[in-house]
């Protein structure tokens, strides 16, 4: 089997003595799409933030192609360039246009040629249907458009791995689709992705592997078919039940027949 590019071993993270991640082991191979699900507060967003060195960790290790990731270390900035992250609330820079947002890090951090990055950015914007918005400011865009720009901004750094932290949670339902479609497209291109989401249908469609997190531990991991149809653990079953509703029609019919 291919050597994993991201290795997480016995990761521990606590906030004020409260254990949020309690011994996470996870390996991600090149081109793999992993969807992380779990009840709120289970630590899934924290896991992504640890991978991007936005949080200090209290134990274990995270390595990307053999280099260890830790907050505040000198290599953190260099490693972060290889890890793209998209946040729930887009976090575009409001004082810069769409194009300037995208160009900032590739030209200032990676010192790449501006014209070259611009051509690439235009092609990517075209791909997500936003070429016409290149010179707009973030405030002129809808939530879904902002999120697509944020994805392009992350892509332009040529990251080896992309992290998506509940990127559709703040969007109106009709905008969720346009963002998820972009992510499906990336999966088809073979990008390595770690996705935290509450969109179960999407998870099923995009994931190579589903990781179920509860209480700061990985409780279950399986292929999407298996996980969604035959969850092995009681906790996963209970969690998935939240997304289905009992049909009330039969009961209503029975009740009226009984009258």
């Amino acid at each position: 089997m291919e050597e994993p590019i991201l290795k997480i071993e016995n990761l521990k993270k606590a906030y004020d003595g409260q254990m949020v991640l309690n011994g996470i082991d996870l390996q991600v191979r090149q081109g793999e799409v992993i969807v992380i699900v779990g009840p709120s507060g289970c630590g899934k967003s924290t896991l992504l933030r640890c991978i991007n060195a936005l949080e200090e960790i209290q134990g274990g290790s995270i390595t990307l192609r053999g280099s260890e990731i830790s907050k505040g270390s000198r290599t953190a900035a260099a490693l972060r360039q290889k890890i793209g992250m998209v946040f729930q609330s887009y976090e575009l820079f409001p004082h810069l246009t769409v194009m300037e947002n995208i160009l900032l890090a590739p030209t200032k951090v990676q010192k790449r040629d501006k014209a070259e990055v611009k051509t690439e950015a235009m092609a990517l914007l075209q791909r997500v249907g936003l070429a016409a918005k290149a010179d707009s400011y973030p405030r002129q865009l809808s939530g879904g458009q902002k999120q697509r720009v944020a994805i392009v901004r992350a892509l332009c750094m040529h990251p080896e791995i992309l992290l998506f932290d509940e990127v559709t949670a703040a969007l109106d339902p009709e905008m969720v689709r346009e963002v998820l479609d972009v992510m499906l497209d990336l999966a088809r291109q073979g990008k390595t992705m770690l996705i935290v989401t509450h969109e179960m249908q999407f998870a099923k469609a995009v994931a190579d592997r589903v990781v179920f997190l509860d209480g700061g531990r990985i409780v279950e991991q399986a292929g999407p078919e298996e996980f969604f149809t035959h969850p092995q653990t009681q906790r996963a079953k209970k969690f998935l039940d939240v997304f289905t509703f009992e049909d009330v029609h039969a009961e209503k019919a029975a009740a009226s027949a009984g009258l």
């Binding site: 972060r80 793209g84 976090e91 890090a105 750094m157």
Partner: protein, 224 residues
């Protein structure tokens, strides 16, 4: 048209004296602004430091200065420095000291407000893109802070200019004081001069402050 007694301004060098008075007021505010803006930026940046002692010191400074009426501050500095330390300050120097103390406190609070209003996520998404600490400040945080700060600090400048009208109380002969002198001197011959002269003073303040306010408004519209 009612008699405004404006003609007194054309007697002798009266108009020139009035303009000289305006210059005194402008000089006090200009020097104060030039000193208190950079100091305010420093104080504002220090206010965001997590150190509790630093924070407490500046908090006390800020609250005391802002609660006290500027006139009381002027009296305190002008009369009490002479009494207590036997330093003989000119009225203008005392005025500049008070305006710098006050302007620095106000500016510090504006800077602090602008800095903390930048969401934490702006720092994080910069870091996530691989920007270093310095790059994050240069390209992301400072440009946004300045955009929030500029209209507010321009408003502060106009407030400082208008507040110079208090310094006549510690004997500085600025535009308002000159106006009073002109009116007093012509009390017998032109009893209505008060209307006309004060009207001209009003217009002089307006001519100075209005373009500055317009600039603030324009920047606000451009950057909002």
């Amino acid at each position: 048209m009612p008699d405004l007694g404006i003609e007194v301004l054309f007697k002798g060098t009266n108009m020139l004296r009035l303009l000289q008075g305006l210059w005194v007021a402008m000089r006090i505010s200009l020097i104060s602004v030039l000193i208190s803006m950079p100091l305010g930026i420093l104080v504002g940046a220090l206010m965001t430091v997590k150190n509790k002692a630093v924070h407490a010191v500046f908090k006390v400074y800020l609250e005391v200065i802002r609660i006290m009426p500027q006139l009381v501050l002027l009296f305190l500095v002008y009369f009490d420095t002479t009494k207590v330390w036997r330093i003989n300050l000119s009225g203008e120097a005392a005025a500049i000291i008070v305006f710098v103390l006050w302007g620095t406190a106000e500016m510090g609070d504006l800077v602090r407000g602008a800095l903390v209003s930048i969401p934490k996520h702006q720092y994080e998404s910069s870091q996530a893109l691989g920007l270093g600490r310095l790059q994050t400040y240069v390209y992301v945080i400072i440009p946004q802070t300045l955009r929030r700060l500029l209209p507010l600090s321009i408003n502060l400048i106009t407030r400082m200019i208008k507040t110079t009208s208090l310094v006549l109380m510690i004997g500085v002969v600025e535009v308002l004081k000159v106006a009073q002198q002109i009116i007093e001197a012509n009390r017998m011959t032109t009893p209505n001069a008060a209307f006309g002269v004060f009207l001209v003073v009003l217009m002089l303040y307006f001519v100075v402050c209005w373009p500055i306010s317009m600039l603030a408004r324009q920047l606000e519209r451009k950057w909002s």
